[in-house]
Amino acid sequence: MTIELSRRGFCIGTALIGLQTVSSSAFARSEDGTVKLGLVAPMSGPNARYGAFSLRGAQMAAKEINGAGGIGGRKINILAGDSQGTPVEGVSATRRLIDQDQVDFIIGDVSSSVTLAMQPVAEDAGVLLLNAASSNPKITYKAGVGGFKWTYRNYPTDENRALIVLQYAAEKKGFTKYAVLSVDSDYGRAAIEFTKKYLPRFKSQILTEDYYKEGEVDFRSVLSKIRDSGAQAIIMYGNADSTPIVGRQMMEVGIAGKIPLIGNAEFNTEKTIKAAPKALEGAIEAAAWLPAYESEKSKAFVDKFTAEYREAPNNHAYVHWETTHLLAKAIEQAQSIDRDKVRAALSKIHYASAVGEVTFDDHNQARLPMILLEIENGKPAIKGAYSAEIDYPK
């Protein structure tokens, strides 16, 4: 009996939902004269802090745009969806935004695995998905001429990072021999794969290759091996928490100040430098953006954000602020909120961001400069913004 009831209930429910979807999509989107922008981000769960920063950045941009009269008279209305940092929740949040909230455009998500899951959903609905913070290269391998026409990304990938770090080390430092010491995870291993892809371009080679487990505390053996190998730098894509340990043990085996760390593992934070100042000297790291970056637009953003929210912005706040402005610019140039026209405008855009000009390649990936940092005299020094053209897999 109960089974019958629930089955019937299920059928009626499904029919109702179907009816509602059909009837509501009969209405034109954004009939109220606004631009409906969905923002998918982890608003709860372990990465909730990133979601909060993302939303604040996007909201601040919307406020600025609306304060200046909107986009051709249309105000931006941001509707937030919570992905909880998981693909399942990210997909349902995206569906809700598309089916119920009738958004025209979506910005999201922070984590790569969520964005990868959202891509087909946005593609089926024909809604523009503009990613602002995921770094997995696969997202745009599969976009543009790679398949998904509606996915764009305004964020440098791990591949960009690996290439730019390698390029800087080769061209500015003259390094050709490297040792690898990265974290044994998808992130750490993939970054090394990308580095290897570009080694021939800079006539460089990897002499030793080791991966450490999260929580590893004994690096003496591997660092002694690196010392004897003749490597000029250690390529490290790793955990922020392991860097101080590696730094201390570099001092012990006597390679501190001789073989610098390059890559990405929070070399530039005060805490890390304090743990092993001599080992971190000369460390090279590439970042998408950081609050200390010297550019007028960037400084103005930091000041305004800090005044508004009484907290300094992080990378996620910045990229969502910038991406919302980028999208507004594309809508403005399209002179319409027609999605096809906006997409065409986005492909052709020349947008002046706080780190440099943004254009999109045929994979809908933004050509973005990254900011290079080098630790000098115990302080991170910004060495400027660099960009490099990546090779897509054939």
Partner: protein, 290 residues
């Protein structure tokens, strides 16, 4: 080539000393209580946190912090010993596994609840490198090797000559007979446990300066490194544990150099499998004690 091997052996002895101090406590607890103490790494963590707390909040010098870390852990061990470990004496093996795993979870999560889950920075200790016979080592590591040797000589003497040590050996051989001749088994169990936990804490405080990071979950890794050592050494065998710890330390160091760092943690478990297949009673005893 030869120099590299020697240097890696030295590196192995350094990590072996750390393993040894932790493992000897665990093996003694097993000898007396017949229970693998799955919370053993947690006492290592507590010792480190105690010292970190003393340095960070009260600005105390490192030697004082060592004492505070060990004493604080011993106090916690008295509580756990009274409420949990004493009740394991004579209980079936599952009871020991469940009880100690439970204690591990409680201790770990209490620390995370109080201090937060993030990594803390341990700023005490003697980290300046010194050169000895052509090898560079942090002063702290030399301290670890020396303390490791002192602990082992001390334990050997205690177990062989002191009344308490003799009682411990007696309890590890036959609980009923001990009761008959008037040895307070529960009391011996409690003291062994406090001693073992204190040694784990000592090891934690000594390694903190070279490991830099302090966090709630740091004990787990230690427990799982220690397990193969005490089985290799022969459960309850102090001398065997010392040698097994050194073998594992050196083997790990050589694997990290010649095979790759990512394979280092497999050494312990691969050795454990081999030992369980061919010498389940440990490398150093002719027959099983338990």
């Amino acid at each position: 080539m030869f120099y590299t091997i020697i240097e890696q052996v030295v590196n192995g002895i350094v990590s072996g000393s750390v393993y040894a101090i932790v493992a000897v406590g665990m093996t003694m607890i097993f000898g007396v209580l017949r229970a693998i103490n799955f919370a053993h790494g947690e006492y290592y963590m507590l010792g480190t946190f105690g010292a970190w707390f003393a340095i960070e909040y009260f600005d105390l010098p490192y030697p004082v912090a060592i004492v505070i870390g060990v004493v604080a852990t011993a106090v916690i061990a008295v509580v756990v010993g009274n409420f949990v470990m004493q009740r394991i004496v004579g209980a079936p093996a599952e009871a020991g596994v469940l009880a100690t795993l439970g204690v591990a979870l409680i201790l770990q999560n209490t620390v995370i609840l109080v201090f937060g889950g993030s990594y803390k920075f341990f700023s005490g200790g003697y980290i300046e490198p010194v050169t000895l016979f052509g090898f560079t080592l942090a002063e702290q590591r030399i301290l670890i090797i020396i303390v490791g040797l002192i602990v082992f000589v001390g334990l050997e003497l205690m177990v062989t000559y002191s009344r308490m040590g003799k009682a411990m050996r007696a309890v590890s051989q036959n609980i009923e007979c001990c009761a008959v001749v008037g040895i307070d088994v529960r009391n011996i169990a409690l003291w062994t446990f406090i001693l073992g936990a204190g040694l784990a804490a000592l090891s934690g405080v000594l390694t903190a300066p070279v490991n830099v990071s302090v966090y709630g979950g740091m004990g787990e890794l230690i427990t799982f490194k220690t397990l193969p050592i005490i089985i290799m050494g022969g459960l309850g065998n102090v001398r065997g544990t010392f040698v097994a710890a050194m073998i594992l330390g050196i083997a790990e160091s050589l694997v990290a150099t010649y095979v790759g760092l990512q394979f280092r943690d497999t050494v312990g478990f691969a050795t454990l499998m081999l030992v369980l297949m061919w010498r389940p009673h440990g490398l150093f005893s002719a027959q099983a004690r338990f």
